[in-house]
């Protein structure tokens, strides 16, 4: 399975350590709430709202360099908009991965 990384953040920040730290801090602060919001919507079967949260999480997934997971999230977002959820388990695995990674930063 592909592993998350900070290549994008590092490229963007270059030598600017303060900017890098700000981006990492923002991820750490924002990601748990986004995941929680997704889980709340999904668990209450509000798939439209869940799709909105997946849409937002896609950005974080791509920032962590998880290309395949990004496309999985995009497909899952489309599924949710159509009231389907066959990719839910796979997506939750991705969430678990990025949550652990963010916590380790």
């Amino acid at each position: 399975m592909e592993q998350p990384n900070l290549d994008y953040i590092n490229d963007l920040a270059g030598d600017d350590e303060a900017f890098r730290a700000k981006l990492v801090a923002t991820i750490k602060a924002e990601l748990p709430g986004e995941i929680e919001a997704y889980e709340t919507s999904y668990n209450s079967a509000d798939y439209k709202a869940a799709a909105g949260h997946v849409h937002k999480l896609k950005h974080k997934i791509s920032i962590f360099g998880l290309e395949k997971s990004y496309y999985l999230a995009a497909d899952f977002e489309d599924e949710l908009k159509n009231n389907q959820n066959s990719l839910a388990t796979d997506f939750e695995r991705v969430l678990h991965t990025i949550k652990d990674f963010a916590a380790s930063l």
Binding site: L12, K22, T26, D46, H55, K56, H59, K60
Partner: protein, 256 residues
């Protein structure tokens, strides 16, 4: 160039802020987590805004709703995780570029070059939100009103957006919410922010269809999905019902 960032994702705002900071010709004059805050900024201290970095997907009020609600919008660069709106994006003259997240420096600079070229070619006019008339001060007050309904046609009303009167089918309105000096009109397909009051629009809406259920909400009673204790569900919005307004709401229901 004065820039603002409108995006509900803090990380996106931080990334854009960092990229903007590297260009000495750009200054961030505001960053906002929702369209309403940005609208207030443009209406007060943000009249000299030259460029807006705007997310499309935001709760309640999309980037496109936002653009449609601003009079004479400055240059806009859309920043989104969705590739599917490119065609729609370029239907708006003010949109100079469309960046898909995650954005890189090169793509950012290309978008900024386009915005600078546009500014050099045509200086951006002052931003004027709906309902105000600085560009036409001599117009009679009635013309300046953001809401106008022909008295004999109760099926629709008009909102004044960018000097155009946009028709809204009354039956398509789900909810009207008061937010400070503005009202937020939510219809089945679009949302509009209008500089007006709940009282003014209440006078324009047919009383057999609409009901004020709370100090800050008027609802279309035909759009009620369900009612629970002190709230009603309209579409996916949970609207509070005040104790004083609840009896009138219950009277309207065709109950078994």
């Amino acid at each position: 160039m004065n820039c603002i960032i409108v995006d509900d994702e803090a990380l996106s705002r931080a990334i854009l802020e960092g990229m903007i900071a590297k260009d000495p010709e750009l200054t961030v004059t505001g960053e906002f987590g929702n369209a309403m805050q940005a609208m207030k900024h443009l209406n007060t201290t943000g009249e000299d805004t030259d460029l807006i970095f705007l997310d499309i997907h935001m709760p309640d009020f999309t980037g496109f709703d936002f653009i449609q609600t601003i009079k004479n919008p400055p240059a806009v660069v859309l920043v989104t995780s969705d590739k599917n709106f490119a065609t729609e994006a370029f239907e708006y003259d003010c949109i100079v570029d469309y960046m898909v997240k995650p954005i890189n420096e090169e793509r950012f600079q290309r978008a900024v070059r386009k915005a600078k070229a546009l500014k050099a070619a045509t200086p951006a006019p002052a931003v004027t939100p709906v309902g105000t008339t600085p560009s036409a001060p001599a117009e009679p007050r009635e013309t300046a009103s953001p809401l106008a309904i022909p008295a004999d046609t109760p099926t629709e009303f008009y909102v004044n957006i960018d000097r155009r009167l946009i028709k809204i089918d009354i039956q398509s309105v789900n909810v009207v919410e008061a937010k400070g000096d503005y009202i937020h009109i939510k219809t089945e397909s679009k949302n509009y922010i209008v500089h007006s009051t709940l009282k003014k629009i209440e006078e324009k809406l047919p009383t057999n269809l609409f009901l004020k259920v709370h100090r800050t909400y008027i609802i279309n009673t035909k759009k009620i999905v369900d009612i629970e204790d002190n709230s009603v569900l309209i579409g996916k919005d949970v609207i509070p019902v005040s104790r004083a307004n609840r009896p009138e709401l219950m009277k309207r229901l065709n109950m078994l």
